[in-house]
Assembly symmetry: C2
Homo-oligomer: 612 residues x 2
């Protein structure tokens, strides 16, 4: 068995990472085609893929057991990395260099196959109310935060290399490029931990949003630095870079938004919901197209995809057949989960299989230290800045004394945000693009540092949560109720989405009107009740049509209570209320309610604006 | 815009078909890595993928419009082929050979990425009652049928080439290999048409089962022929081949079955249903592993995956959390749909982009004629054979007069089975493996013939259905009710699959006991009622707990009525009854009921045996 495994392991990633090894080599198609016997190739790639899948499933199993046994110290992603390292070791041991050459971390795969599902799912799963409530903090940490961190790392590395102890020379732009790659925090590990612990939505959202956006930002920064590689850098180029970045960010957002709108309109004005299978495929395809189009147009695919996901959930979601609503949600989750695990296996793997890597311990230590410093000097000043803004802003609104106002971001939150700054695969993928002779050293450094951060910070996050006494176990009802809602609604939705579209509208209306009823009902008894009581009430009333049953069961666990809850989570009590009130007075929400939704939605689930 | 498209089209499939173009070339990793700037590569592959996705979505759109406008003449897959041909034409026009070299039909992709989802979904969606009821006919058409057709095509081609009009020389084994590639009928097009028309389940099942199995069989035959390529062929090798084939088929089936069982046991004995996301991933992974393991072990992955899918649906399905039941179903469907469309786009593409192809019109015509002859000489004799068997068998059971017995497979069915014999992508994928100097001619021939069959037969199937007066519009309630069931059950299932596993068992029991009630209830009023009446009854009874409501709503649209219906669909009236009765007396069903299900299932949904 082990010999089999070894035999297989040899072909493992070689074949797996280039399935199309049998596509004719461009220079000499013929000779290559000679041996392109699909049967043979199939055998090889079969073993490769078999073992990859085996690694994946074992990673998932381990994560299951960890969750089962409530083990906090070790985390799934860490295990995945070790899984990968183990196999990487086997490959490294096995004779012959060609496998090791073949299993190099492959940016093409990463950016085109592994990354999109994660981003899309993030956007789709995003708790929009919280996200937009904390958008200020998120953008602050994401944009200036990433700039600062990249700058700090860049400067430290530049100085260090100037000392010449490691005998490597770096231009400043290259040092800055390294800084950029190491400023992309990882949206995967932390969040899966936070999900497991149901951490306070506010903190969750801030870290989540930041880690999503700063991937995009560090990518753009990296590209900008690469443009200046080898050219003399003027002071103006700094602003040039910033301008370039802002433009990219804005346009990407718009692309994503527009495609989301486009889908919503298509769904509204076509009868495609009668063919849910096609509908589901199309939505997935459109989302991906936003990513690839944006990348192709030299914009940031991540940003586009993220906002496309958000827009889809905010508008298009309501025009989908119920089957598609469920399907998209589950499909995105599945793909994301698989990619996440695969990425970390992949990282661990390449640690051993990148033969050209040049490891310089000193440099690695310095870099690791520098990213900690950078993260520190990004998080804390910005948090204080935010707190200051918040305080003044609040004073202006209510004449309260500044000192009596709690912080927007308490110190424990700041510490957690700092701790959550572990780096992810995006950095490594970018680092593949380094140029110049220092390339292999830098790549090795980035790779090791990333793995270190994941293992150290990722492994200790859970304990850190306890040490900092951060509020955990905040049951995010919306998620559950959303699922519940999705699972339970669809009898009518389905039947008419497949059979009679007319009924579809009737049902939708009855549903949306029903929301109002429910919510009024809730407002009287503002406790977060499940829908069973209604059911029973209804039965007492005696006037009961199957349709009503559907509606009653269709009722999501109450929207408003969640809303209040999530508000009281984000922002402290009265502040939260005041803030979210102010929030909802904002022009966008009004515009959204009065213009966009009527135009885009088939029916108006009025009372769910914040939630959906 | 067009210029953009052209620009993109150039990179289109080059990058798309080998994403990892930037993995270092094995011989000279360094120079290759020099230009492995992820950013650049990303741009290229982004455009490639964007256009591929665009093609996919346009194919889906067209299929939507076709279904919308009830257009029968043209079919989705035909459109996909033309889509591909169009782009292929653009690429062919565009200067430079390297793109054309790069977009060659790639067996690696086909076998490892595109084919598995389709097979898996087929197995999972399979209406098992019908399948096993007609297993005899299916195997007859699949195994001897494919042999005959391959043999006939082989002989005709051999004789033709011996005449030497085209100046190509073929050994007999090579001719036979061509025959094998052209004996794999396509499971996609016909079935999507049949689904759209809700064709009589019996005919559907036979054609479906045949087209699934004969892919596997022709693959095995092809491999066997390849083994004999260049070697002297003795008469013994014929039996050697047959023996080899039967062994492969059996072992593959067992592999698939065992892995399915394994999953069922894991699900039963672990609490993984509490983590539905992981559960879903694992089930997908295991299914794929059965495919790759089987391929890796020189067995037939298709057969394994097919039976793995069937076993999963038959056993594991009942141990899954409801969320996973829904998720797996939708995910498999989605993946299958995407692959199907992509395959046909791909076929059309390679028609223009395979530069080395040598088209010999005469040979193509002869081959096309020969596959028709082959199909004819396979379908009709075997059908008559089946009818004969059926008649004698029936006479033995009931002393009726043989002449008064309707055919098992009526003449119109025979014609339809003949017509459904259009060839698919499997053939082309296999044809890539041809050896010898005639290779390019044969590949071209196979490619053209396949596309021709899809366009001709596929395009005319709908009209053929009418001409032959085949029963259409047989509403397959099981499918709907199954969906309905899946969508409506899960309140409790979900809540406990995520929160309290103990409740899970309680619910399962209550559910399974509930099935009995329902079915008894049904038996009294054997009309196919929806679950609303029960609901209302229950309310009259007044004794109503939310739990009961769940159970009541959990009730699938009645199992037995469907059962009866599908029986009366398959088999003619009394015959059907008699047959299926005999069917259910069979040892396997008993073994299944009395041994396997108790061992494998968490709860016994007793009255659904045939359905699930």
């Amino acid at each position: 068995m082990t010999s089999l495994t070894l035999y297989a392991a040899k072909y493992l990633v070689k074949r797996a990472l280039d399935l199309d090894d049998d596509t004719p080599d461009l220079t000499t198609p013929d000779e290559d085609l000679e041996d392109s016997n699909p049967v043979e190739n199939e055998i090889f790639s079969s073993w490769a893929l078999f073992i990859l899948l085996f690694l994946l499933s074992s990673a998932l199993w381990s994560s299951y057991f960890l969750q089962q046994r409530k083990i906090k110290a070790v985390h799934e992603t860490v295990l995945s990395i070790f899984c990968g390292m183990f196999v990487g070791l086997i490959i490294r041991m096995s004779p012959g260099h060609y496998i090791q050459d073949a299993v190099k971390f492959n940016p093409g795969y990463f950016f085109n196959i592994l990354l999109p599902p994660i981003i899309l799912n993030s956007g789709y799963e995003l708790h929009q109310a919280n996200f937009f409530r904390n958008i200020g903090s998120i953008l602050t940490f994401a944009i200036p935060g990433t700039f600062i961190s990249a700058l700090v790392v860049g400067i430290i590395l530049y100085i260090w290399t100037k000392l010449g102890l490691d005998g490597i020379k770096l231009e400043f732009v290259d040092a800055l490029a390294v800084g950029a790659t190491l400023s992309a925090t990882d949206p995967v590990t932390i969040l899966s931990i936070f999900n497991a612990y149901k951490v306070d939505p506010k903190l969750y959202t801030i870290i989540f949003g930041e880690s999503l956006l700063n991937d995009a930002i560090s990518i753009v920064m990296f590209e900008t630095c690469q443009k200046f590689h080898g050219h003399p850098v003027h002071f103006s180029s700094f602003f040039e870079g910033i301008g370039l970045f802002l433009m990219t960010f804005t346009i990407s957002t718009i692309i994503g938004f527009l495609i989301g709108i486009f889908v919503a309109l298509i769904l509204k004005h076509s009868h495609i919901r009668r063919y849910p299978q096609i509908e589901t495929c199309l939505i997935l395809l459109f989302a991906y197209e936003s990513y690839f189009f944006s990348n192709g147009a030299h914009m940031s695919g991540i940003v586009s995809l993220l906002f496309c996901g958000i827009t889809l959930k905010h508008y298009a979601y309501f025009n989908m057949s119920r089957r598609t609503q469920i399907a998209t949600k589950y499909v995105f989750q599945l793909l994301a989960q698989l990619s996440e695990n695969f990425i970390f296996i992949y990282l661990g793997l390449s640690l051993f299989t990148e033969v050209e890597l040049v490891f310089k311990p000193l440099l690695i230590i310095i870099t690791f230290a520098s990213i900690c410093v950078a993260r520190y000097s990004a998080v804390f000043p910005l948090s204080n800045f935010l707190n200051f803004l918040f305080r003044t802003r609040f004073e202006k609104f209510s004449g309260m004394n500044a000192n009596s106002i709690p912080d927007e971001i308490s110190h424990s939150y700041q510490m957690m945000i700092f701790w959550a700054g572990l780096r992810g695969a995006v950095g490594v993928a970018l680092a593949m693009g380094f140029q110049g002779e220092a390339k292999w050293t830098l790549l090795a450094t980035v790779l090791v540092v990333v793995v270190l951060t994941v293992i150290l910070f990722g492994g200790t996050t859970a304990s850190m949560l306890e040490i900092l006494g951060i509020k955990v176990g905040c049951v995010d009802e919306t998620a559950d109720s959303d699922d519940e809602f999705e699972i339970e609604a669809p009898r009518i939705a389905l039947s008419n989405s497949t059979n009679t579209p007319v009924m579809g509208h009737r049902k939708n209306q009855s549903q949306s009107t029903h929301y109002k009823d429910v919510v009024q009902h809730r407002n009287h008894s503002s406790s977060s009740v499940s829908s069973h009581p209604d059911l029973l009430d209804a039965f007492d009333d005696g006037e009961l049509l199957s349709n009503d049953i559907d509606d009653l069961i269709t009722a999501p666990t109450p929207s408003l209570p969640n809303h209040n809850r999530s508000r009281s989570d984000g922002g402290a009590g009265v502040l939260g209320a005041f803030l979210s009130a102010e929030e909802h007075a904002k022009w966008f929400t009004r515009f959204d309610e009065e213009v966009l939704k009527p135009v885009l939605l088939d029916t108006l689930p009025k009372n769910r604006d914040g939630e959906v």
